[in-house]
């Protein structure tokens, strides 16, 4: 069935380190996205027409464009247009951060909108300034709602990072491909075993995280 290839030499370890490449890219991008998404989300609720127009276009564009197109735009496009030479991994980080920031900011905006106006007015009347109102009153209230949603974003990121093999990053799927190619003669059925293993590895990486998000969502529902 082709599973025996994985037991040869360091093949399985290589596969796992490939998975780590994908996980690393998604974790770094999520960290950046949460930070930038918070800021953009708050900016979007302020009544500034320019910011609102720009962020709307940004959000709509990112929402509509497939991540693969964005990867191509950053990886091949910037090289050509701006004469910048960005490494594949950096372009992946840029694309996933751009995408995550858009998703996050929309979530932040949504939860900010659900906070009644009274909260702002009360804290202003208590003498807090805008910065204090956000840091001490508003943000702590939305964090609880945000945490399960951002955990969900992590699983979506991990799933989407499988695309980075298309711009030449050696992650788990690419390693799997290499293993299959290298053992074409000795185990011709390797494709089945290796791709099934990759399939299961992704499942094992995403499923627990998704469960955690669901659990927290239920626990903090009220």
């Amino acid at each position: 069935m082709g599973f025996e290839v994985l037991l040869k030499g360091t093949n399985f370890i290589r596969l796992l380190s490939g998975l780590w490449v994908a996980l690393r890219i998604s974790l770094i991008s999520v960290a950046i996205s949460i930070f930038l998404g918070m800021i953009l989300g708050i900016l979007m609720t302020l009544k500034a027409p320019v910011i609102q127009a720009v962020s709307r276009i940004y959000l709509e564009f990112i929402r509509i464009m497939p991540q693969m197109v964005l990867l191509f735009l950053v990886y091949f496009g910037t090289t050509r247009v701006f004469n910048l030479n960005i490494s594949a991994e950096t372009s992946a980080l840029i694309v996933f951060s751009l995408w995550g920031t858009a998703e996050m900011s929309d979530l932040v905006r949504g939860s900010l909108k659900s906070i009644p106006k009274i909260q702002y007015e009360s804290s202003f009347s208590l003498g807090l300034n805008t910065y204090q109102t956000y840091v001490y009153v508003i943000v702590p209230q939305i964090v609880r709602r945000m945490i399960p949603l951002s955990i969900n974003l992590i699983t979506r990121m991990i799933k989407t990072t499988s695309l980075v093999m298309m711009i030449g990053i050696v992650e788990v799927l690419k390693v799997g491909q290499q293993i299959i190619e290298a053992n074409r003669k000795s185990s011709p059925n390797a494709a089945f075993g290796v791709y099934l293993t990759v399939f299961l590895l992704y499942f094992l990486a995403c499923w627990p995280i998704g469960r955690l998000a669901k659990y927290l969502e239920k626990k903090w529902a009220n």
Binding site: G2, I64, Q67, F72, V81, P188, A191
Partner: protein, 219 residues
């Protein structure tokens, strides 16, 4: 940007556009059928089927389409199951989408409180009537936003098809860049064609969402 180059590329992109759209809509059709069936199985707790449906939903929601396609296209032939690239794309997208649609529909069905069914029954409606006139419209209006989001998500996911060498938009773009190195023009066309495909869906989706928001009216 060279307009002449852009003009000469358009026919190839149009061809790829139709292929992408064709496989995309086939996949979405499968996704709807699979999604509705599994959602009903889970919601009505049909003995064995609901367990299978639950496992299916968890597995396909937690793995990327690219990996699913690789498994179906390169892995399964080793067991003697051979599918063409086109049907592999449609089936893969359908199975992925089915799990997402199932979640969207099921959460809509689950959100309808028991009181609705009971009141309708007390008014003398038959069970089929309750389902047709009470549960279904309400559940549908609740599911619409998620379904629209899924539609956009699935159409976006078609960009992965190039990995199993289907001549879709992504494949054409990569091919043209490799052949002629007119990166800027090719990427520009790529973006334009994806906008043509997805912007209408997004706009119509927003309009439909607004139209079916009647469940919120009473609140």
């Amino acid at each position: 940007m060279d307009l002449e180059v852009i003009y000469s590329y358009i026919p190839r992109f149009v061809e790829a556009f139709w292929l992408t759209l064709k496989i995309g809509w086939f996949g979405i059709l499968i996704a709807f059928i699979v999604g509705i069936l599994t959602a009903f199985a889970v919601h009505f707790k049909i003995p064995v089927l609901s367990k299978i449906a639950g496992i299916y939903i968890e597995i396909f929601r937690n793995t990327p389409l690219l990996v699913q396609l690789f498994f179906i296209y390169f892995g399964l032939p080793k067991l003697g199951i051979r599918v063409s690239a086109e049907s592999c794309g449609a089936v893969g997208l359908g199975l992925l989408g089915g799990s997402y649609m199932a979640e969207a529909i099921r959460s809509g069905l689950d959100a309808i409180s028991l009181a609705q069914t009971e009141s309708a029954l007390a008014l003398g409606m038959k069970k089929t009537q309750v389902f047709k006139y009470i549960i279904l419209p309400e559940a549908f209006s609740l599911s619409v936003p998620a379904i629209v989001a899924n539609l956009i998500f699935l159409l976006k996911e078609t960009s992965v098809f190039s990995a199993i060498s289907l001549m879709d938009l992504m494949f054409t773009a990569k091919d043209l860049i490799g052949l002629y190195y007119d990166t800027t023009e090719t990427l520009f066309l790529l973006v334009i064609f994806y906008l043509i495909m997805l912007l209408p869906v997004s706009l119509i989706g927003n309009a439909v969402e607004k139209k079916y928001r009647y469940r919120m009216l009473g609140q």
